[in-house]
Amino acid sequence: MKNAKNAHFWQVDHKVKRIAEVKQVEVLSSPSAWEKYIWSRKYFRRKPEEGYFVWVRQQPNIPLQTCVNIVAKNIKQIMTNLLVVEEGLKIELEGFCGNVAACFNGAHLAQGSIYIKRNSSVTYRHIHSWEPDNIIEPNYEFLLEENAQLDYVYKTTHTPRILKVKNKITCLKGAKVSIKILVDCKNTEFFTEDAIVLKGKGSSGISRLRFIAGENSNIKAHSLIFAKSASMGHLDCQSLITADSAKVSLVPEVLCEEKEAQVTHEASIGKVSEEQLNYLRMRGLTEEQALNLIISGFLRI
């Protein structure tokens, strides 16, 4: 569908439900793109079975959207996604993946590649919301060419039984990245690994992680900033424990191979402040309302 009012890709279970394009943006299923564009094969990390391909060729004047749902039982999605943004463009992308009904024994295994070419800027809001009995593994790699910028937010509002999140971002000369990973866990085994590789001179990266460790949750996070050139990076990793049955392990790591680089980190694990909780209760909020407000504030960065 050409010349639509917005550009989006919508998949339910294994079926592509709708694709809409504008003239500046080509949207295809990944298997179709693999066949149509030989050049795309060097960008895909594997031959795709399903997934989306978004190629931003010129400046669009609308946000781009992707939506991938699981609605049936026993669905295992193996997504291979690719976003290519040509030079000098500024785009906003909203991606939603989640259940829209109670689903059982589902899996969403996504391998994504995002290429942001020279002088382009991408704002990407990636939202997940899953029913408990699912296994979810988003694994994304980003390449930021010279002077490219990425503002990436990954947020899970409802966590599945198992959640494994991986992000690797490589920044070339002058590229800038800000990533935020915000996860509110309940009854979840959550593993996350993110790495920002500052490869080019003058590149910079900031990684901010906020995790809520609720009832029966086990969080293991490893976050890395690797400065290979004269660059700047900062890692800010914080977790709030709200239940006795929760466990958290945060491992921030900074690596440096260049004397002109500056990389810093901070990490903390703490409980909800009694002072804040009681203050809000003395404003008439119930304990649960107060806790939810504090948690939403913690995740709002």
Binding site: M282, R283, I294, F298
Partner: protein
């Protein structure tokens, strides 16, 4: 017979949960629509008393009782007490990072934020108490109290850290929106200058977790304190029983 007292505190003893004794037999009664003042030096237990009245879980009542609007408050949660009509403006309110003031006000008021008092229009989008000046904290505390529409408003050190312009602004709002609407007010202070502006109906003095003096003549009490300090209060002719 219905009591004329909105709040009645009898022989109240309280400790922190770390077992530090804070109050040693406090008695206090506040009538509907009246303005009360509680004076005392730093660390005398004034703020703790306010928090205990509101049911702060940090404290434990070991003896005595608090009755508000005919209902015994001992053992009730803070939010229940707020529903009954109690409200406390904190001396040192905590920062709520990531919570814009307008979000909190909306929850408190149960509707869209309407700062009809024009107290904090510039602060609405900022996180609660984050990098606020002393005056901004006091103003926003008062705004929250007004939105709760209490029967008894406890204002803890509302005057501390305020310049005279802001103090007058706050006092005008308290007069118009609280006292003018027959809300009982308990002013907690250790300096006394706010008393000159609000002219309380009754003033008490607290030292070492006890009310040691109570009188309608706030000027007389202030005069004694300024001349002899709080220690003299223990010997003054107005000594509370």
């Amino acid at each position: 017979m219905k009591s004329k007292h909105l709040l009645k505190i009898t022989n109240l003893h309280a400790s922190t949960y770390e077992d530090k004794k804070i109050l040693h037999g406090v008695g206090m009664a506040i009538e509907k629509g009246k303005v009360y003042a509680l004076l005392g030096p730093n660390g005398s237990g004034k703020s703790s008393l306010a928090h205990i009245i509101l049911g702060d879980p940090k404290y434990e009542i070991t003896k005595g009782k608090i009755v508000f609007g005919g209902k015994v408050l001992n053992g009730t949660h803070p939010e229940e007490r707020v529903k009954l009509g109690l409200a406390l403006a904190f001396q040192h309110p905590p920062v709520l990072k990531g919570v814009p003031l307008e979000v909190l006000l909306k929850i408190i008021s149960g509707s869209e934020v309407e700062d009809k008092f024009k107290i904090a229009p510039k602060l609405l989008s900022r996180d609660v108490n984050l990098d606020y000046s002393g005056g901004e904290k006091k103003l926003t505390e008062l705004l929250q109290i007004l939105l709760l529409k209490p029967k008894l408003a406890i204002l803890d050190e509302l005057d501390s850290g305020l310049d005279i312009r802001n103090l007058k602004k706050l006092v005008d709002i308290v007069k118009k929106e609280l006292i003018g609407k027959k809300t009982s007010v308990l002013i907690i202070t250790h300096s006394g200058k706010i008393l000159e502006l609000l002219k309380p109906d009754m003033t008490s003095v607290m030292v070492d977790g006890k009310i040691i003096c109570r009188n309608k003549d706030y000027k007389g009490i202030l005069k004694t304190i300024s001349k002899y300090g709080y220690e003299k209060c223990k010997k003054c002719p107005f000594l509370a029983s």
